[in-house]
Symmetry: C2
Subunit: 408 residues, 2 copies
């Protein structure tokens, strides 16, 4: 029984087996409920037409998400009821339960636009200290708005996809001419992301109060970064090829409803943000444990794995609702399936930093691994896995994992 | 007879009339050839199946583009033949010709990712002089790689769509606290863009020689910019809300085949780029005239219009093939419908600068208009129109226009 996928969770994803095409599934324990089959159960007829049920047969969640928040909530509630009452559960067609071990997971949504924020104050401070001025690590705008940039949507891949070490142009320290070659400073970034659940038209600004209506759920996200490529290219227009070679996403989308019991107060913001960015929700942040495991290709399975960071979603200075609000304040439209990532989530302690750039302090202080190896940046054969969960036991809401192995 | 849409041009777009759903059309003079109808003509049966012909009934060009370069070329050649020989032309169904005046144009492609480059050396130099160091206007990386960034795809709109003046956060000159309000430094950026015609898988680097195979055609592109929002937000991760409130695209996609006669030598590049970026095509650039017309809402139609810039595609330092090559050198995948824009195309003379930021030198030197008005940045009611063409008379290859009016 997978501890992440309790009755209180029921995340949505896209899977297939050797016998089926990609379709919508719901994770429950070690099983996947095949929604293309389960939705034929009579109880779904109360609120879904046959036409609407076709959304469960699609290779992305977008059509299901477009059915709207009342439908997402109802589907989850009906399943919770059915899985709780044996008399109901036995009405669910038995062949709608697929062992996870027999399924292949796919990218859950067709992403329209992918935006990456930069909302952890400890991460932004660490980066500022390393690359700019230790005395003025945060740039003047940072505490006034959630800094963000557009990322590449085409290269977002599902967990388990190998990540090829990118080549590119770099300016080595002390060199006078750039060189071309494989990145030597390949890194992960510990992030989460939320998925837009409802369009807003061009010209419309959303407010923090619109968040619940417009957001479907959350995933784990690894914004792989080639620091040497990024450092040479990023002025003045931001990250480009240092990021666009691949970003990994966990396959199960945990709904905002499932996460609601884990809402916590926001980060104390000083100065007070401008009125348009002010939270109305007294609990705008989330208490979600985050963990990074690095496994090397040397050593046995146990000694080769090291938990190299333990962080938490609550370390974000800017809340998700503030991110969404800022993103649309200029009238920018959003679409179902848009992905908005947090930026690297680092906490105040070194053990909670969310990238090797920080953990090895720019490569100057190698990180010791459990098997005696050290790392500054990622080597070929290394596998990075993020895990995330809120709560405990039968109330645990887990994300599963996002994992990727570096190949040369 | 529209001078842009000669027999040698035949650009593709998406249109509808009061009697039809959006579908593929080809511009010819003042008419649109309705390809959903014209493709039933027997001569198309030689190389298109009925299934393939369904691509002409779609609301975006993507499915047609996916049929591949031999098909794009063949369709254009067949139409050129048919429109040249009266005996053939009369075999084309008469109702397949729709007067442009009766048609509504739509966004021609479903854009996957939109990338904006920064490839005009005169533009980058002007901006560097204004915002950074006049003595070192170009940043160290600029002459070594085509700087680019990811833009927002959702807010790309078709020509003719009004552009709402965005609100946002700004730090006025001399202020110590940011303010929220309507942008006061709203600008256009004169750009062109090419549209990807063939996917490349993640992990594959393209070379300049792959350009012809992977690019379908070109459009005019206005990358509207709110300079005050942009200036406050853009460090360290690049442009975001200063751009994402809207970008306008011309509706007719001019094929690279139509533009082939106007290929010219590339900009002299010093230093020589790294080998992966070196051109193999002796004529990597294009001689395309570009023109910006500003019309104010005051005055009559004639006196209210001023040509405020005359530029040319050949002023680009980095060629389109170099842009595509650089974009994929890290293995980033591209997809049919991806949009890659040039960045503002300014020439060496002030009369050829491609933004008001440059033309008014950051607002310090107001621009005189034909009707006696002046402009530093755009005012509500102003309409900006770009036009572009190569060649003359019956050999002219024109882009039509991209136009947009600022509304408050």
């Amino acid at each position: 029984m997978h501890p992440d996928f309790t009755l209180h969770n029921l995340p949505f994803g896209i899977f297939n087996t050797v016998n089926s095409e990609p379709r919508v599934g719901v994770a429950f324990g070690d099983q996947i409920i095949d929604m293309a089959l389960a939705s034929n159960w009579a109880i779904f007829d109360d609120f879904l037409t046959n036409k609407q049920k076709e959304a469960f047969e699609q290779p992305f969640l977008n059509d299901f998400i477009r059915l709207g928040r009342p439908v997402w909530r109802r589907v989850r509630e009906v399943l919770q009821l059915a899985l709780t009452k044996p008399t109901l559960q036995c009405q669910l067609p038995a062949h709608a339960f697929v062992p996870m071990a027999e399924a292949t997971m796919h990218l859950p949504v067709q992403i329209g636009d992918y935006t990456d924020f930069y909302s952890s104050i400890d991460h932004a401070t660490n980066v500022g200290k390393m690359f700019r001025d230790p005395a003025n690590a945060l740039l003047p705008n940072w505490r006034h708005l959630p800094v963000g940039y557009h990322g590449r949507a085409s290269s977002v891949v599902v967990s388990g996809t190998d990540i090829r070490r990118p080549s590119g142009q770099m300016m080595p320290k002390g060199a006078t001419q750039p060189v071309f070659g494989l990145s030597r400073r390949l890194d992960f970034e510990l992030e989460t992301a939320f998925i837009v659940g409802k369009d807003s038209p061009l010209g419309t600004a959303l407010t923090p109060a619109d968040f619940d209506e417009h957001v479907f759920g959350m995933v784990l996200f690894n914004d792989w970064s080639a620091r040497d490529i990024q450092q040479w290219e990023y002025v003045p227009l931001g990250p480009f090829l240092g990021k666009s070679f691949g970003s990994s996403m966990s396959p199960w989308v945990v709904t905002m409803e499932a996460l609601a019991p884990f809402r916590v107060p926001g980060y104390e913001q000083d100065p007070t943000p401008l009125p348009y960015l002010q939270e109305t929700n007294p609990l705008p942040n989330l208490d979600i444990n985050l963990e990074v495991v690095l496994a090397t290709s040397t050593g046995d399975a146990d000694s080769g794995q090291t938990v190299i960071s333990r962080s938490n979603q609550r370390f974000l200075y800017w809340s998700q609702a503030q991110q969404l609000t800022h993103h649309t304040v200029n009238g920018c439209n959003i679409r179902v399936g848009d992905l908005m990532a947090s930026g690297t989530i680092s906490g105040p302690e070194r053990s909670s930093w969310g990238s090797l750039l920080e953990l090895s302090w720019g490569g100057a202080e190698p990180l010791a691994l459990a098997n005696g190896d050290t790392r500054t940046f990622l080597e070929d054969g290394d596998t990075v896995t993020f895990r995330a969960w809120a709560g405990e036991g039968e109330h645990r809401i887990g994300f599963g994992e996002v994992t990727g192995r570096i190949v040369g």
